[in-house]
């Protein structure tokens, strides 16, 4: 009996696999389709927990989770923290400004020092791609990637998939158009891995200056014509334009970007009538997305935020020993 089942929570619609047989969640690239389905199915049960008057289950009671954030983040850190607390974990937030990193300590030493205090899981956000892999090699604790450089942001892709699945009841066969700064986006990379594995038809769209090298090998259709990307799309996902380093360097002006690539109601007309609009946040209104689209009837942007908690609860639960394997061992 799992801790969740004690609370009469339906985690019963048992999927093909019942545990993540891995120590860490470093990226979607490593996951099988069965593992992705397991996380999404588990998240459904977790979502129900968040809708109760008492939003807490004892699944991770006695477990220590460290949220180690080397980059500023409000949404992701808050989401993880709420997820951890709803699972009764003991949580600890370390942000770069208050850590010893400013004293010149290396990431490896920071990790070893944390490790000495025996946390069960470390949720890491870092500006360097591969930082989670480095930590994973050093630490016994489970490492959860909360975004590493331009590499992956697996829980974002999982919550995106969860949100799509809620609306479309499936991922396979959907046309998903991803528009925005593809080059610097970890959200893009995780989403491509996940949507490809689940059988979606992925289109990506950006000015050529913001397209990763060899995009053809990613298994997606790439175009610089936003109308082509959006045509008959089931899902449109917009990626943030990083204002501070983009203008004049990757395209002439934000005004021109919005003119050529911005998601407006007029452009939406080409998509399927039941299209959903997604954005991982934070949004630049009037740059990658018009306000009337962000706030309009097709937008599921705030649902993404809500689902983020459920998906992160699922990941924490499955990696933190909530799986069947662990119970059998105990």
């Amino acid at each position: 009996m799992s801790a969740l089942a004690h609370e009469q929570t339906p985690v019963d619609a048992a999927p093909a696999v019942t545990a993540l047989r891995r120590k860490d969640l470093l990226g979607i690239a490593d996951l099988t389709t069965e593992e992705i389905a397991l996380i999404l199915d588990t998240a459904e049960a977790m979502k129900e927990v968040g809708e109760r008057p008492i939003k807490k289950v004892p699944a991770l009671r006695g477990k220590t989770v460290v949220n180690l954030f080397f980059e500023p983040s409000t949404r992701t850190r808050t989401s993880f923290e709420i997820a951890e607390k709803r699972l009764s974990a003991d949580t600890l937030n370390i942000a770069v400004a208050s850590s010893s990193v400013v004293k010149g300590e290396t990431l490896a030493d920071t990790a070893l020092n944390l490790e000495a205090m025996h946390p069960d899981m470390i949720v890491l956000r870092h500006s360097s791609s591969g930082a989670c892999h480095l930590l994973s090699r050093i630490c016994r604790s489970a490492i959860i990637n909360a975004g590493d450089g331009m590499h992956e942001h697996p829980t974002q892709a999982l919550l995106d998939a969860f949100t799509i699945r809620e609306h479309k009841k499936r991922l396979a066969g959907l046309k998903v158009a991803i528009v925005g700064d593809l080059l610097h986006s970890r959200v893009l990379r995780s989403n491509i891995h996940l949507l490809n594995k689940m059988g979606s038809d992925v289109w990506v769209c950006a000015p050529p200056t913001l397209v990763p090298a060899d995009i053809g090998r990613f298994g997606v259709r790439a175009t610089s014509h936003v109308d082509e990307a959006v045509a008959d799309a089931d899902v449109i996902m917009l990626l943030r334009i990083q204002l501070e380093r983009m203008e004049g360097a990757f395209f002439p002006s934000l005004r021109e970007y919005f003119h050529v690539f911005g998601m407006t109601e007029a452009r939406l007309g080409r998509a399927r009538p039941d299209v959903v609009i997604m954005h991982p946040g934070p949004m630049n209104r009037g740059v990658e997305i018009a306000s009337e689209v962000a706030d309009g009837p097709y937008s599921v942007i705030l649902e993404q935020v809500a689902n983020g908690v459920a998906v992160r609860m699922a990941v924490l639960y499955l990696l933190g020993g909530g799986g069947v394997d662990h119970e059998e061992a105990a």
Binding site: T106, L107, S128, H133, L134, M150, H151, D214
Partner: protein, 437 residues
């Protein structure tokens, strides 16, 4: 004191020799090389069958890190690594602390080399003061102190004008200008080759064109000035094309390729260890088409030399996030096994061509002694065990640093012994029959 190496296969391309010969060493010089030389009171060493006697290998691109970065390497540890790797001489890059841009630093390096008394050391001076790319360094003084070439390696020479002037000025002494070819604006803050691997791993990439622009610039200026331009650690197929075209047009351009660039591709960034900082170097590991072009250039003669770009870094410096780690790997003790395995045993070239790449041509490019077993040449010899199975063991390396991506690799072909100036400085314990050397 005479020593007669008897009965080994001798490969001496400078004299067109490839066959069973004897080599007579008299003191620190080669006295003779021929068939059935008379013993004439010399100590006789029978060279076991299967071993190959070559003129000493010269690694023309090494970072010895001294002065200033002794935690990574010193002249003593670097030259110990060299002789263990089969190199009788190394040319060391000027990006030390301080930069080797004046005779005092050159003299310091040479003093350390004399104290170490292992491989010969040929310092390479800076093109510009502090390698800052503004003012020419004291090139004549560097030459007089013992520098054999100039470069601002680690970076390209900052401007085309400065490179042109350096070529004109160094050309007066017949010194080659060695260039780390790179367009800095195109490189930006890239840490890997721009391609699928960097794109999926989320690493900022620099394309092959970034290097080729630098190569094209130098080749054009070499044509303009008539000076000898040498492309360091070439990695991109577009650079090779530029060199090939330059040579066809009679430009005085030469180039070198490092073993990691003819062995690995950028796939090593993803596996076996994702984000292994020992796969980070500049120029970066490139895609298969570039690696294959380097192999083709080695086979067709466009590539003049194999040089390691031996770049030791301390464990702590490499045990960080990929984008924060310094560029470079050690190479002296894996270069010969990789070359034998990947070039000779793979059927790409034969041994005489390998000896050209590792001995004859580096000596010719740097205009230093060696590269031959002619009478009167320094008694610098590399004895190969081409069929020896070698397992690369990073921990056992003589270099002070162990930053290699080849740890654990099993390769066919190794070094049997290294002789510098008639003194046997390294004998491989895994090779029998060389006790008397």
């Amino acid at each position: 004191m005479k020593k007669l190496l008897k009965g080994g296969r001798v490969v001496d391309p400078a004299n067109g020799i490839d066959g069973v010969h004897d080599v007579l060493i008299d003191g620190d010089r080669i006295a003779a090389c021929g068939r059935d030389l008379p013993v004439d009171g010399a100590a006789v060493v029978e060279i076991p069958a299967g071993l190959v006697v070559c003129p000493g290998f010269i690694d023309m691109h090494v970072h010895l890190r001294e002065p200033g970065q002794e935690h990574k390497e010193t002249v003593a540890t670097g030259t110990a690594s060299a002789v263990a790797g089969g190199f009788t001489a190394v040319a060391c890059m000027p990006n030390t602390t301080p930069v080797n841009d004046n005779a005092n630093v050159t003299a310091y390096i040479l003093t350390k080399a004399t104290e170490a008394n292992l491989a010969r050391v040929y310092p390479i001076g800076a093109v510009s003061r502090g390698s800052r790319g503004e003012l020419l360094a004291d090139i004549a003084e560097l030459r007089q102190a013992g520098c054999v070439a100039i470069t601002d390696d680690g970076h390209p020479v900052a401007t085309a004008l400065l490179l042109r002037r350096a070529m004109e000025y160094a050309g007066m002494f017949g010194m080659p200008v060695i260039e780390h070819c790179e367009d800095s604006s195109l490189k930006g803050d890239a840490v890997a080759h721009e391609g699928y691997q960097a794109a999926t791993l989320g690493l900022r990439g620099m394309p092959g064109a970034c290097e080729a622009l630098g190569a094209e610039r130098g080749i054009l200026l070499s044509e303009l000035t008539g000076a000898h331009f040498h492309v360091a650690h070439m990695s991109a197929r577009a650079s090779l094309r530029a060199v090939r075209k330059g040579k066809e047009h009679g430009v005085r351009v030469t180039c070198e390729v490092a073993p990691h660039h003819f062995t690995l591709t950028d796939e090593a960034l993803a596996s076996p260890v994702p984000y292994d900082t020992n796969t980070k170097m500049n120029p970066p590991l490139r895609e298969a088409a570039d690696r294959d072009a380097m192999l083709a250039g080695i086979a067709d003669g466009t590539v003049d030399a194999v040089a390691t770009d031996h770049a030791p870094h301390h464990y702590d410096e490499k045990n960080v996030e990929f984008d924060r780690a310094p560029f470079g790997i050690v190479g002296l003790e894996s270069a010969v096994p990789l070359s034998l395995d990947r070039l000779v045993h793979a059927g790409l070239i034969r041994l005489p061509r390998l000896v050209e790449l590792l001995s004859v041509n580096p000596a010719r490019i740097l205009r230093v002694a060696g590269g031959t077993l002619s009478p009167g040449a320094p008694a610098d010899l590399t004895i190969l065990a081409p069929d020896l199975t070698v397992r690369v063991d990073a921990a056992a390396m003589r270099s002070r640093s162990k930053n290699t991506p080849f740890g654990g690799w099993e390769l066919r072909g190794g070094v049997a012994a290294t002789i510098v100036g008639g003194r046997t400085l390294f004998v491989n314990a895994a090779v029998d029959g060389l006790k008397g050397l």
